[in-house]
Amino acid sequence: MSEHEPTPTPELVTVKIDGKEHQLPKGKNLLEALLDLGEDISYFCYHPGLSVAASCRQCLVGIRGSMVPSCQTTVSDGLELESQSPTVLDARRQMLEFTLVNHPVDCVICDKAGECTLQRHYMDWDGKPSEIDHEKVEKPKKVDVGREIVLDAERCILCSRCVRFCQEIAESPDLVFEYRGNHETLTTAPDRRLDNSYSLNTVDICPVGALTDKDFRFKIRVWELYATRSVCNGCAAGCDTEVHHRDGRIYRMVPPKDWDMNLNWMCDDGRRTYKSVAAQRLTRPLVDGEPAELDAALAAIKERLEPLLAQDRGAIGVVLGADASNEDNFMAARMAYDFLEAGHVYLADSPDNGLGDDILRRDDPNPNRAGARGCARGDLGSSEDLARDLADHKLEALYVVGDRLDLSDETLGQLRGLKLVVVQASEPSRLTDKAHVVLPAAKWAEVHGTITRTSERAKRDLSASRFGRMRPAVEPPGMARPHWDWLKRVGAVLGVTVEFESAHAVFQEMKKQVPFFAEAQWGGKIPTVMLRFAGRRG
């Protein structure tokens, strides 16, 4: 992939496809060129992000009477080819028949069924009943090949996408083929397991159900799922993702199919972040550790904060969250600077973990540290600063947005001495135990909003903006609400009326007021769709 310099405009040459002339860029992969033309060509092993293997022979085209895999051919001047002629279709059908000869009758239990490329090609191009009259070759089933993955070697159609992925993208050659011919089997390389941090991508790119995700395995059939486009909140990279969910429960996260932000890849850890959404959550406001009604919680804040507002606004501290969206942090910052005129504004974040790599992942585990910084006017204190200020008794009240504030036991003990500690958090923690008022917050998969992502790719070549857009896949539990909404309500009881109907309204205000977000885009409407009817999958 060309990443830095702009590609020069390629020379266009005339290619004759099924008797019709087309102008195609010279030197381009023929399969890609045909697909761009809208030709419907079946293929298994080709993948735009991987090298060409031409092992499946499914994309055959007829050139001068012989069948050539188009993925291995480049566009050249005067090329004449057949792509939809009966002979070519028949050749492809025969290839498909070969592929099906040893494929087990497994659709009923195969997790890929419904988004299986083999199923799709059979329906699109074959449709003939079976003609086999010999035993299928038996290969190992249910092989535990890695931390996250189970291999069913019988289902494998030997396209080698996973092998190439491990070699080329993950740079960890974990998978190999062994034996030859009928008995060629996918297996792990000697002394290796499929344990690289991107291993689950092999499940996505597997055209059949040979590699399946242990976590997703047998949970639900893919066609029953609904897909919502969102952004991964696992690290600062902010990869685009599709959240697959049904009936308020998230089942998996996969990279979107369109060749975009993260090039169809996602890291294993990122895919598992959905679990935190269903984890133990705060569902009701707490006042002094006791569940309370919404109005009672807000009244408690008002009652305890108002004396302070009159006396010493400098002793109020506000903590922005590196896990909260841009809109949330913008609201928090506005409250801190414009209304409370707080003396101290901090940023709660988690320290870098050193897990970053050149592919997607970043060292910074906070999804939106950059966005929080962007909202700030001036420097933000760190959590060490917060601890110091607490030790120095500079604070009388603290308003924390987000779950990321991790304080030592000693500091937490000092929180007790404050007049008011308000925490907007989604999960119970040591901090919420100490807080006077806790407001339950919605998580990223439950809200609309944007985050600022810092992936290398975002900075370099892709048209996608630096701001990722989250869309709600599931309903927040109980009385949980988005941070911005809590801040609006707290503002309202304290006498500030901010008329924001939605996160979009907050976003527009933020874009107007904060130069950092001047080029941010809200992103189009991508409706939640049921995978069953989301067009042809596989």
Binding site: L35, G38, E39, D40, Q84, P86, L89, D90, P104, V105, D106, C107, V108, I109, A113, W125, G127, K128, P129, I132, D133, H134, E135, K136, E138, K141, K142, R217, F218, K219, I220, R221, W223, E224, R532, R536
Partner: protein, 209 residues
């Protein structure tokens, strides 16, 4: 054969206007039924009511009754939780939760339904689930219709109850091997080759991605 039209009408004359003749004629029909049904020979009586539940009507072979789940040779459930029935069900009355068999024998199917519930009150008895089952697991040929229940939850049939009506199935899923054709003599149109013009139709089909 072209259809023709026919004018239908009924004339009204003195006979009709007198009320009584037609009333008597009508009474003749009903009283004929009455006397045949009370005094007539048993063979001629026309009473069609069935003294249900003392007498139960013989249900036809295709009658769609309460569901049942078939079993394998070892007595375990045939269903593999593939969700075909739940997917095609227009009423969404089938609830399946899949599970993974612990340590299955080498080539056994490792997926099975942990929970298999059918809400017979929600069921519209269309029979599509039977048609959609690729394992011959679910069937509606019990010839039993859903008995009335006192509580709604009683109408939710669970796996043990569904399996209690099950029998061993002749179908072998998961690949019976190359001799599967010999096992079944009644293959019907199985070996029939599909329409020969499918290549042509493939070409005419609009391209899609």
């Amino acid at each position: 054969m072209p259809a023709r039209t026919k004018v239908v009408t009924v004339k009204r004359g003195l006979w009709e206007n007198l009320y009584l003749p037609e009333i008597v004629r009508g009474l003749g029909v009903t009283l004929k039924h009455f006397f045949i049904n009370t005094l007539g020979p048993k063979s001629k009586r026309q009473i069609v009511t069935i003294d249900y539940p003392d007498v139960v009507r013989e249900l036809p072979e295709r009658y769609r009754g309460v569901h049942r789940l078939n079993t394998r040779e070892d007595g375990s459930v045939r269903c593999t939780a593939c969700m075909m029935c739940a997917t095609i069900c227009p009423a969404n009355c089938i609830h399946i939760e899949a599970g993974e068999r612990e340590n299955p024998a080498s080539r056994d199917i490792e997926k099975f339904p942990q929970v298999f519930e059918i809400d017979e009150l929600v069921c519209v008895v269309c029979g599509l689930c039977v048609e959609a089952c690729p394992c011959d697991a679910i069937r509606m040929d019990t010839h039993v219709h859903m008995p009335p229940v006192e509580h709604r939850k009683d109408a939710v049939l669970e796996k043990p109850e569904l399996m209690s009506r099950g029998t061993k199935s002749i179908a072998v899923d998961g690949g019976a091997g190359p001799d599967w054709r010999d096992k079944y003599t009644d293959l019907g149109s199985l070996t029939q080759i599909y329409r020969p013009d499918h290549i042509e139709r493939d070409r005419e089909r609009p391209a899609r991605r």
